[in-house]
Symmetry: D2
Subunit: 449 residues, 4 copies
Amino acid sequence: MCGIIGIYSDSPVNKKLFYGLNSLQHRGQESCGITVSNSETLLRERGMGLVIDVFDENKLNRLEGNLGIGHTRYSTEGGNYEYNTQPLLSFTKGTEISISHNGNLINYQILKTRLEEDGMMFQTTSDTEVILFLIARYYKDDIVDAIKKTMDVIEGAYSVVLLLKDKLVAFRDNRGIRPLVIGETESGDTVIASENAPIEIMGGRAGRNILPGEIVVVDENGINSYFHGGAKKPKHCIFEYVYFARDDATLDKVNSYNFRRRCGEIISREAPCDVDLVVPVPDSGIPSAIGYSQETKIPFAEGLVKNRYMGRTFIKPTQEEREMAVKLKLNPLRHVIEGKKIVLIDDSIVRGTTSANLIRRMRDAGAKEVHLRITSPPVEYPCYYGINTPSRMNLIAANNTVEEIRERIDADSLAFISMEGLQSATLIRDDRFCKACFNGEYPVDPVVI
Amino acid sequence: MCGIIGIYSDSPVNKKLFYGLNSLQHRGQESCGITVSNSETLLRERGMGLVIDVFDENKLNRLEGNLGIGHTRYSTEGGNYEYNTQPLLSFTKGTEISISHNGNLINYQILKTRLEEDGMMFQTTSDTEVILFLIARYYKDDIVDAIKKTMDVIEGAYSVVLLLKDKLVAFRDNRGIRPLVIGETESGDTVIASENAPIEIMGGRAGRNILPGEIVVVDENGINSYFHGGAKKPKHCIFEYVYFARDDATLDKVNSYNFRRRCGEIISREAPCDVDLVVPVPDSGIPSAIGYSQETKIPFAEGLVKNRYMGRTFIKPTQEEREMAVKLKLNPLRHVIEGKKIVLIDDSIVRGTTSANLIRRMRDAGAKEVHLRITSPPVEYPCYYGINTPSRMNLIAANNTVEEIRERIDADSLAFISMEGLQSATLIRDDRFCKACFNGEYPVDPVVI
Amino acid sequence: MCGIIGIYSDSPVNKKLFYGLNSLQHRGQESCGITVSNSETLLRERGMGLVIDVFDENKLNRLEGNLGIGHTRYSTEGGNYEYNTQPLLSFTKGTEISISHNGNLINYQILKTRLEEDGMMFQTTSDTEVILFLIARYYKDDIVDAIKKTMDVIEGAYSVVLLLKDKLVAFRDNRGIRPLVIGETESGDTVIASENAPIEIMGGRAGRNILPGEIVVVDENGINSYFHGGAKKPKHCIFEYVYFARDDATLDKVNSYNFRRRCGEIISREAPCDVDLVVPVPDSGIPSAIGYSQETKIPFAEGLVKNRYMGRTFIKPTQEEREMAVKLKLNPLRHVIEGKKIVLIDDSIVRGTTSANLIRRMRDAGAKEVHLRITSPPVEYPCYYGINTPSRMNLIAANNTVEEIRERIDADSLAFISMEGLQSATLIRDDRFCKACFNGEYPVDPVVI
Amino acid sequence: MCGIIGIYSDSPVNKKLFYGLNSLQHRGQESCGITVSNSETLLRERGMGLVIDVFDENKLNRLEGNLGIGHTRYSTEGGNYEYNTQPLLSFTKGTEISISHNGNLINYQILKTRLEEDGMMFQTTSDTEVILFLIARYYKDDIVDAIKKTMDVIEGAYSVVLLLKDKLVAFRDNRGIRPLVIGETESGDTVIASENAPIEIMGGRAGRNILPGEIVVVDENGINSYFHGGAKKPKHCIFEYVYFARDDATLDKVNSYNFRRRCGEIISREAPCDVDLVVPVPDSGIPSAIGYSQETKIPFAEGLVKNRYMGRTFIKPTQEEREMAVKLKLNPLRHVIEGKKIVLIDDSIVRGTTSANLIRRMRDAGAKEVHLRITSPPVEYPCYYGINTPSRMNLIAANNTVEEIRERIDADSLAFISMEGLQSATLIRDDRFCKACFNGEYPVDPVVI
């Protein structure tokens, strides 16, 4: 999971990219970066941490140029190294190219090995470098041609923005697994991003989705669209609506706020329970809890206070202090939940440890009963398309029945939304969504590593 | 408005103060500081900015000691200077004293002038220095006596924690205007703070309120309580529940989450309106909107997305960028509000500019009607007890009727909760609350400067 | 030891103060600060560390004003706390005053106690606060009168610059113990500083010394001079020329470079030795070693390489690493000294540990003999006028004969310049220098604390 | 010009690399970095700026491992980009390699183009990436074999340290143009570096030079040496002794301090002048000025005070302030030079602007005559082996006679050391030095770009 953005303007884009990246911060807090073109050369600044910590006035001022791209990177378990921080840059055959990528190539290892046999050297452990390398290799004069040839060989999920000295380019895999939208602002800038929030923030309307297999080139000739030609049935990641996207995102015709609200309504019908209060796990559980409450007429209540100011800190806690850090993040509201029967609404269970901790603390704060409703089906399969799920060994739902999970997290009852319920919350009939993490039906055969 | 904290422990308090201050960050983001005692001397670190930005591992490590105090300071219009950053320190007659103060002395100028005539020199522009000075002057061997003598002469609102080499001391003005709570953690630490959140975060139960006129001394003799003897009828600031305190705060027997929820219920009865959705202005409007919705059965909806990651930034925006910064903070959710009649729930109107901007943007995002309900009465009078309200000239409600305000902010309808409604939301009959900002009945005669 | 500076201009002084403070960095590396007047209020920024680390573009930009003062503070053993960082500020009786002070009051404790009895509270542990307090107390309309009254009661060494909203003021104690010079730049700015370097850097000529007992006021009426009237026989600190001042300083008619060179010549005659090379301990030993070499015709050689880039670091070394840090700072040049008889020229011996370490490392690097010549007499008495010497207990010369010192530091021979030699190096006949650290004749009776 | 270092130890090397890099700071102040191996993976930290600014306790703590390499990078005109910061890293065919390089490949463009034709993509604009790529490509099991094959194709100057998970490797080009030394410390660590300072700082003896064409492998099998087999007549860069190396460096049997001193002696005989004082341009002119003075018996004097504390600053100066910044760096000592005839000793003239400015300021400070002696011949040709000289167009000596230069810098007289003088200062008879920048005789045909 990552956030990507590109802007083509006739005025400096450094601060626009800064604000835009901030609105994509929820898609990655580990590191971030910006590359701009001053039309003679590409200039880049990157760093570990939040956008507001990495960039200051000095750094932004060094990024002078009217077109550029940016990236926010998610914290992954094995690869939080500065060399993986994006955008990546290539200086090859007199051409400078910079790339921001969201997604995951499933044939990364095969391609990497083959390219190494061809003599290629890799300087990161990220699949993005493979995409950049292939484009650089195929590129002569025609960037669209180079991208098409690259798309011929890479398999998996990829939404990409590229920067050349005079062009902003974007493309999306043939199944459209990861989102990518494009829009124009009132002042005439073209903005391409993982979600529509950056476009709206810059004063633009929502724009449109870049289509599966589409390649968009923005330059002095305007906005031109090309197609790879290999488009498959769309398989948009449904987990975007479950968890990743902001409430204000409308991606591939599904609005995430309304999707979440409907999931709450649906699970309230699928798995009713006799409780006094509906309590969301903030922030992503809120719309679903609203839906649950409205459907059941059981009062909605904020039962957990989230600390709004606690960003990344470099203070190393001891064990006792670690407990403080957890409570600082999310504190049960005793006066609301004491003596009450509660249904807690959360978006997913991955390992189960967070849910167990939360339920214990709800009971400590006086809850009489704690029921848990999850607005996604059990996550039984790892994602190979860009979401950092643990291996099956650590997925609690891959190894336990719902009843076993309930016991381990000590909930009074536990239910997950059904696959049908999830689909129907999209308001779309045909199955154009990737639900592989729930049902194991991978749109592209994963190469298990 | 500020947050204060003190901890007495038998283990290092530096990181506990760090986490505690973080949970009081909502009470002040301008600057912060910590003083600890290593039993030989007092050590202090202060700085401008958020707690997580001011303190790093190095700074915390320099603060070695088992008792200490901290402070988070609110941004005020005229006085954001480093010299006003608390805790203040005094080295007088061989005694080191450090102080954190929340509140405001109304006879500050008189005392300051009188003390200057006596030959005192001031190094800050804050009334806290007057309190510190008086205590230092009166102190011989008995800190309680010195505090009593100080309380004889200072008038206004003050909740104070003091640190001596071997003692943590706290006291509260005779009307208890600003909150102050005390509690013990499981490991036996004594924690005193503006709200109960720090106590809970450290694993303690809510504790009790320090009473108006009470002086608490924590040292090797345990926790001992004294009284000034001049206690008046309590006048707890009701604006704490309206706006300042966290949802999980229970101060002087009123829980702020439930108070806010009840305010929503009450205003829905006092000023009903025919709308499709109840939308809160996050974050403090959420419980009231929940109450409004539950009372009226009109659906509650999150219609504004708040950016969770945008802290303080030093990037100076141009005019165009300023608009981006505002939208980045709070973005209307077009898919929720488009074509809908909305009632927006906010806690207060001070100048009116924020409300006007918000209503305009709701309309831009497609709202058909925007009604505004405010869960406090019109703020017609400045606060002299520690809240940084503008002078009457700039208080929109001091110079305009409700209808005039409605017109200026362009709402379809506008209503404020009644004074009776506000009182009844506390569930307390007798009038033990300061409501001076609404009705001009100042518990202590303000000395207008 | 500290560096002080004040500038009065008709254009912004923030960057001028920044460059000026940098040229006074050798007089204090612990902390620094700047106060300017924007004619309505005084603005201050301070911090721990070097001038280039404390101030950045942002901080300097906040210091807008055409007059201001600055301070660099020396590292002292007991008092490196942020609250002692200068300039100090006072807000009293409607008047804002800021102060930078170099020197030491010997009646600080008496004054402090007396003022505390009068009810004064102190917020630092620095005597500068006493001076600021007294001036603030005496000040009605006439700053010169307030300073005179203050000078009536304070005893000791003080060179001071004061900033009022519309005035830059400077004064110097009646014996002129610490230096203070004033000059004008080509663009018409008035600059007052501890040494002449800042004046020269800003394009001015050396200017003149502010006289013992003189008070200088710079404001819209130009530069006006007043006298306290209690001037005593001058007692300029001779250690300024021995060690503190830059080579380009000419203070009270003595140029430090030439003084140092002559000290080398004199000691070469007073204590000749049969060696191959004259090696300075950089940087202050260099001019003396040049003088020694020129007088004796023994070749001068750089035998120690100083690392030019090692500033303050926050890396905590282990014991093994500590040795590296020492060697990193000063590395013997084996190819120069191997097999050679060396005379090492240093400015002073205080504790003796540094000399012992250096001589051992010279021998390790192959020196056949290491003789040590010190261009000041033995430091037998502590300084009470602003130099941070250890108590007599730790002064190696207070408790050991020259022969005993020689043995402890393991030098082949050791000699100190004579008192007469030191005096004659000034080229001034009459005894207008304070040499109390050498002979115990304190110009003002020290009150031993 | 860069500084490189590698350490193989049985204890953590992070702080050793930190101290070692500090002692190589004079070889590059633009950026720096460290890679260590924790035996499972390589860990890297890099940044723009000085070693003490880039690395703090946190960053060093992340670099856990017992072997590692480091790099300090010189400021070059066209390429100060973060992507060129070394060490570089490669992840290829399951092997992690990191590289630090000092020097310059003359066939970089040819190799780059050929490799690009083969499909390689470049992510930096530095020739180091070509070396890393070739080694990674040739590497199967035998690193020595891969290096030999790489040395077969790369042409130019290169001193390189490589890090593998379990090996520290170093090699030097067949002419030994850039220096590289190896030594052991008392605790048994092996240290390889551009100069001997790091070895001495860690408590080791000077060690030996790695020979032209030599490849050294340090691992669990000890230290093993191999040869490429293509060794040519050595051509050590003589400019190392003229300017780059520290005074305590002994590289390829020439000690730089003694070389510099002898250059001063020689030029005093070659170009005598009738003056009162010999004044060095600090710091590299000092040994030569000592030599000049000792040979001529004309007194040596420090006539320029260098500010020891002014590191890199981010304060942007105006024109007036720029002059201050220059004076702050180097201030003429009026009391020493006023009324005197001066010979100024400097190591080289490149553009001539610095000399002109310095001579003007010497005259302003009262020098009666200013003669200039340069301890290197005129720099008429650009360096293609790693020193960042400007193109011939900007080399003042490439386009002007000595007399024309004298006139432009306004010196009373000007002389450069002769080629013979320079050679004889090395005390070595045969011509084993590269002097291409003086005589245009490039040891390897440069490919002008």
